[in-house]
Every structure is written in C-alpha cells, then in structure tokens.
Symmetry: none
Subunit: 222 residues, 4 copies
DNA sequence: TATGAATGAGTGTTCATTCAT
DNA sequence: AATGAATGAACACTCATTCAT
C-alpha cells in the first residue's frame, strides 16, 4: 500500500495539482452520481461543482463511462482492501464471515454513495448496452476475490461453494441495505447498524449450515 | 383476480382494441426496458416494436415515466396476487414464509424483466430526481402489504418486525437473483431454482430465530 | 427521367411536404456549403436558413456527411444527364468532345456552388479520414461513365485512353474554372464563357492528337 | 535563394534552435495537413508529432491559420524559385513553357503534400470565411509572377494573355495531377510522369496557337 | 383515434487558444 | 523559451414530446 504523503512529496507542484484535480473530479462525480444517478448527472454538473472547465474532465477521463468504471474499480478495491484487513484479523473461519459482513456493512454505511453506484452499475451490467462492456469483468473479479477470502469458512468444499457464499454475502448486504436506506434513509439505517449486521450474519451462516447436507459445510471456529 | 374474457366481452370493439393496444405497449416496453434499460430504451423503440405510431404512445401514457410507473404497479400487484394466493394455501405460519419466498423466486424467474425493472426503479428511487416522485409510495405500499401477509409468521411481535421480515424477503430475493442472473444468466439460475429457494428460506428463517431474543420471533408451525 | 408534376400529384399532401422539405434542405445546404464550405457550414446554419428545427435535418439525412454525399451524387448525376443529352446530339466523334466540354463548362457556370462542392470533395477524398470512404467510388463511377461517353472520340484505342481523356476533360474544366472564378468572380467568368470553352476544347483535342503516336488517337469527324 | 549553412553559422545556438523548431513545425504540419487535411489535423497532432509542447506552437505561429499561410507562401515561393531557375535555362520562348510545366509537375510529384495543400487552400479562398482573408493575395501574387515568367512565350500580346496562360498552366497541372493522384495514387502518377508532362505541354501550347487569332499568340522558338 | 413530421433544449465531446510556471 | 494544464465556446447529434392532419 502506498504512503500518499511521501509519494506526493516526490511530485512537482504541477503534478500534485493534477493528482488533486483528478481526485476532485472523482469525489464530485461520486457525489453527483449518488444524488442524481449516473444518467441524470451531467458531465457539466461534475465540472461545475468541481469548479473546473468542462474540457478539463476529458483531460482526465476519456468519457463519462470511463469515470464510472474508475469509481467502480476504486470502490470495489477499497472495499476489498478493508475486507482483506478485517479477514486477516479474524482468528477463526467463523469469524471470517463476521469480519467480511461487518466490513461490508460498515463500508456502505460510510459510503452510501457507493451503495447506490454499485446498485446502478449492477443494473447496467444486465443491459445489452455498450456501456456495460468490461464492467462485468471488474465486478466478477471482485466476487472471485471475495470467494477466495471467505474460502476458509467453507473449507473442504468445492470452489463453487465459496463463490456462492461470496455472492450471498454481497447480495444480502447490498440488497438489505438498499431497501432499508430507501425507506428509512441512510441515517436511520446507521442507527440500526448492529441489528442489520447481526441479521445478515445469521442469514449467511444459516446458508452454510443448510448447505452442509448439500454443498456448503461450515468449518466450525474454536 | 379479473377474468379478462368476460370483462372484454362487455366492451365495444373499439374499446377492446384500446385495451389491446395498451397491453401491447406495456408488454413491449417491459421487454425493451429489460433489454436496454429504462434510460436507453427510447419511446420510439417501443412504438416501433409495437408497430404503432409514435404519437400513439402518448395517447395511452402521459410520459415515458408514466409507463414505468404503470409497469411497476402492474408487476408488484401481480407479484402480490400470486403471493397472496400462495400464502392463503399455506397451512402453517412457517409455510407462509416458504410460500412467499417460493412465489417471489418463481415470479422473477418467470419474469426476469421485472427483476431488472424493479432493480432499476429501486436505484432511481434514491435519486433527487423528479422521476422518482410517487414511485416510492408504490413500492412502499407493496412492502407494507407483504409485511401484513407474512405477519402470522412472526405473530405476537411488533408490526415493525413484520416489516423487517418483508424487507428481508424482498431484499434477499431480489439481491440474490440479480447477482446470480448477472453472472450465470437467467437460464443458469433457473436450473438452480430449488437450491436458491432453499437458501433464501434458510436465511430468512435464521433471521427470525436470531431475532427472537431481540425483536423477531418465529411462530412455530405445527 | 421522371415527370415531377405527375409524380407529385400522386402523393398525399404530407408526402409532398416531405419531398419539399427534403429539397429545401438540399438546396440550402448547397448554398451554404458554397458560401462557407463543407466544414464551416454548420448543420444548424442549414436548418435555420431552411426555417426548420435542428432535429428535422436528421430525419432526412443520417449525418452532415450524408447530405454531402447526396449532393455529390445529385450533382454528378445531373451533370452526367446533361452531358449524355448533349453527346447524343453530337453528329460526329469530334463533336462529342465539344459537347461534353461545353456542357460541363455551362453546368458549372450555372452552378458555381457545385464547382466548389466538387472541389472540396476531391480535396477530402485524398485524406485518411472516415468521411472520405465511399465518396471516392461515387466520383470514380462518374469518370468511368464519362470515359464511356467520350469513347467514340478515341475509337480503336484502349479503354484506358478514354479514361485518360475523361480525366483530362474533368480536370481541365474544373481546374480552369476554379482558378478563373477565384480571381475574376463567377460573373466575370460567365462573360468569358466562349473563350474558355474554346480553350479547353483546343487543349483536350491537342491531347488526343499528341497521343496519336502514343496512346490516344482522334477519330476524325466528318 | 538562401544559403542555410552560412546563414545559420552566424546565429547563436539559441537562435539556431529556434530556426530548427520553426522548421520542424512547418514540416510536420505539411505532412499532417496532407494526411488529414487542414481541418482535421489538430494543432496538438502537430506539436505531438514534432515532439514539442502544445504551447510552443503559438510561440512560432499566431494561429493554425497562420501556419497554413506560411506553408502556402513557402510552397509557392519554392515552386517559383524552381520555375525561375528552369525558365532562365530555357533557350527559346517555346522552351520556357516546357520548363515551367515540367518544373511544376516535378515539384508536385516530389511534394504531393503541397498539391493537396494548395488544392485545399484554393477551396478555402472561395469561402466567405475569415480564414480566407489575405491568402487570396498570396496566391494571386504567385500567378502574377508566373505570368511575367512565361510572358516571353506570348510576346507581343497583352499582359492579360500572359496571365491567362499562367492560369492555364497552373490550373491544368494542379487539376490533372489531383485527379490522377486521387484515382491512381501518387506512386502510379510518378510512373506516368513523362506522359503527363507531355500532355499538359500539348494542351497549353494548343491554347496559345488557338488563341493567336484571338488573344494568345505563340512566339515561336527557334 | 392514430399518426409521424417537426421540434429544440439538452448531451457528450472536441479543440484552438491562453497563461501560469 | 518551452510547457501542458486548463478553458469554454462550439458542434454534431439525440429524443421526449407536441400537434396538425
């Protein structure tokens, strides 16, 4: 992992400004995408809020679609990094699940904009639309990674089991949070954070137990 | 539930044609929204595929947004109707859950276009966009209804518990199916239907049990 | 050849309006392309001058490039038709050349806008630019046709000779008129019409004679 | 004609670099204008290919239009210089024509980029566009010079005759070469160089003869 | 009622030019 | 002098919607 402070110290003032501009565009785009959606947010809205000329956007991103892709990659990679750290700290297979779920919930409660962005991207991915090309692979890579990370929790089973488990974790978390944020607002959901984490954990664990006679078996923690 | 044949018999030929045109537009719109998404599908695509003049669309629906709303209402109400029938058939509180979940899964496997449409609408609902106005209430009403329908499964608890249960059923189903359809295709998911139904059931039931010490308690079936 | 009056009588009012709009767009585009050039003339300039909405343009032509192509085809085909008529009237091979040249000069003096449009298109055709695709073939077809039309004037020689002759006729006419219009204005050139026709005729005929020992030989008229 | 070596020796290193940069920009611009045309070639394409910063372009040329003007002037003056040298070498009035035509053809076969650039400029000159201002005078000066240079070939006639002759030489050469390059490629035309030179010579000389009874009369060489 | 020609505000994107470094 | 980040006016093209027929 990079140490930004040091890295940037090595850059010239101009280079630092470029990095800063890049960041500002991404930040503003994330905000606007979550306020108006990837479709209704215009490139000009982004540059205006970022206090930049419209042309500047295209110096940093090839197209509107490109910035969505970068945000998706950044978001998923940040989520993966946090999950990775938490999973490493887990002392038993069972705790791995808790760690992954908790991290995921907390990530989305901290970044409801990503919750919505990912939701919209998942919607787009199912369309026969150019914009979807390539993004599917990005998302799939994330799930493959998550499957690998939670593999110890279902040790001894086939790889496909871990993938199903990863899918369930992702689906339940995104699904439940989206519904609750929708009807209760982000703040309301934040207050119920513990109960939601608990609920998802139970649901996912039930999945493993139930699968024992089938394809998923839980490796009991100590 | 209505009996179309009888109803239409009572209508004049002109009126029957109108109903038929209305239906064709809705059907075609559903198809195109799920192929290209509500944004990328143009009104003209719809009328063209429906073999109608472009102006005709606006004789039946005030706007593109309006047809989305009608589709949402129709879809949710069909889903509710099927769920209602299944739940009525359930002989015990526990079976109510199974019935609701199974119906939901089967509904979306039969109508993957609704799965995607609802997904897109949920995304839109979070936006500060005119198009979202009003739709939230439609969706909320459906969940309120579902909460009421599954209430017997958590009898004795507060209303909010049933609502949480309904939310979980809806969220888990939509979430899991969306992810699986995304990466495995609708056909692949259809083949795994049983295992997905089972998984969601387990997940939802675990939720109730876990909640017993908290807020959700399962009314055991006989 | 069609008889517009009759043909249009058969069309509905709406259809007649469409034909009329199509014509107006072509006419206005021709004018503007010759005033500002194919690059500096904007689509909006065209629709504005045609007193139409901007979108209307795209109902009639796929793109700006498309209308250029249509104008090129129309212009070349009109030129070919006039040349054809004149050549048919020619009573001897030698007169064929005169007829072709005279028609060409008169065509461009009557339509200086085509003189410029064709000039611009020839310039574009040499570029490695998408817009050039396809247009080359249109132009080439015209020259092939012209070669065939003047073939009798160089009877007995190879086909390539006729093609060279056609090229010379086209090149000398366009070249000379363009230079003269440039420095003397269209009106000035119109006044010298006879001398220019005569000059080009002499030049082209000299070409044939000179080629006699080589590849071009003139078929003497009576 | 300047003697670069000597001239540059007198310059400081910095000044020499400036001259070199200036030349590189002109060379690259010529190449790109002939590949993509003066409109489609971007300033950034030029500086990039010249391996310079974009801003540098504007240190050397006021605008994109300005570099076109410089290229036109340079090209025409180089062409004039070569023609001048050849014409001086001509031992008779008749040979002056041959010299002028041969030089012109060879110049364009050596520099097909100038053939295209001049063609595009001639097109632009007819437009009511700011970019055309001033360029017309540059082109006109060249033709006035050419008229003077070929004057001996039509000695005794009015000045306007020489101008018409100059126009014909320029028009026939550019016209014919453009058409042939267009359909046969620069390489193909180069192979037919002799026959094209011969053809243009005959055409131009026929012009003089024919004009004798009118306005152009050929001063016979020995 | 049904139509589809017409519309024009709005979109993503481009590019010549500027200017702080 | 050289740079290249920033700019914003312009442009080609789109599409939901209207309305005369």
């Amino acid at each position: 992992m990079m140490i930004p402070a040091q890295e940037e110290v090595a850059l010239s003032r101009v280079a630092r400004r470029k990095v800063e501009t890049n960041r500002r565009l991404l930040k503003v785009a994330r905000q606007l995408f979550s306020e108006k959606g990837i479709y209704w947010a215009k490139v000009e809205d982004i540059t205006e809020l970022a206090d930049l000329g419209k042309g500047t956007f295209y110096k940093y991103f090839e197209s509107k679609e490109a910035i969505i892709r970068v945000l998706l990659e950044e978001g998923l990679s940040e989520l993966a990094a946090e999950t990775d750290a938490a999973v490493r700290r887990a002392s038993s297979p069972a705790k791995i699940l808790s760690a992954a779920i908790t991290t995921r919930v907390d990530f989305f409660l901290r970044h409801p904009d990503y919750l919505l962005l990912f939701h919209q991207v998942r919607g787009m991915l199912q369309l026969q639309v150019d914009a979807a090309k390539g993004l599917l692979e990005v998302y799939d890579a994330h799930l493959r990674w998550l499957a690998k990370a939670v593999r110890p929790a279902v040790e001894g089973t086939e790889a496909s089991t871990a993938r199903d488990l990863a899918t369930a974790i992702a689906a339940y978390t995104s699904g439940l949070l989206t519904y609750h944020v929708l009807f209760e607002g982000a703040e309301g959901v934040r207050r119920r954070r513990d109960s939601l984490v608990h609920a998802i954990e139970q649901s996912v664990k039930a999945l493993i137990k139930s699968g024992s006679g089938r394809s998923i078996s839980l490796k009991r923690g100590k």
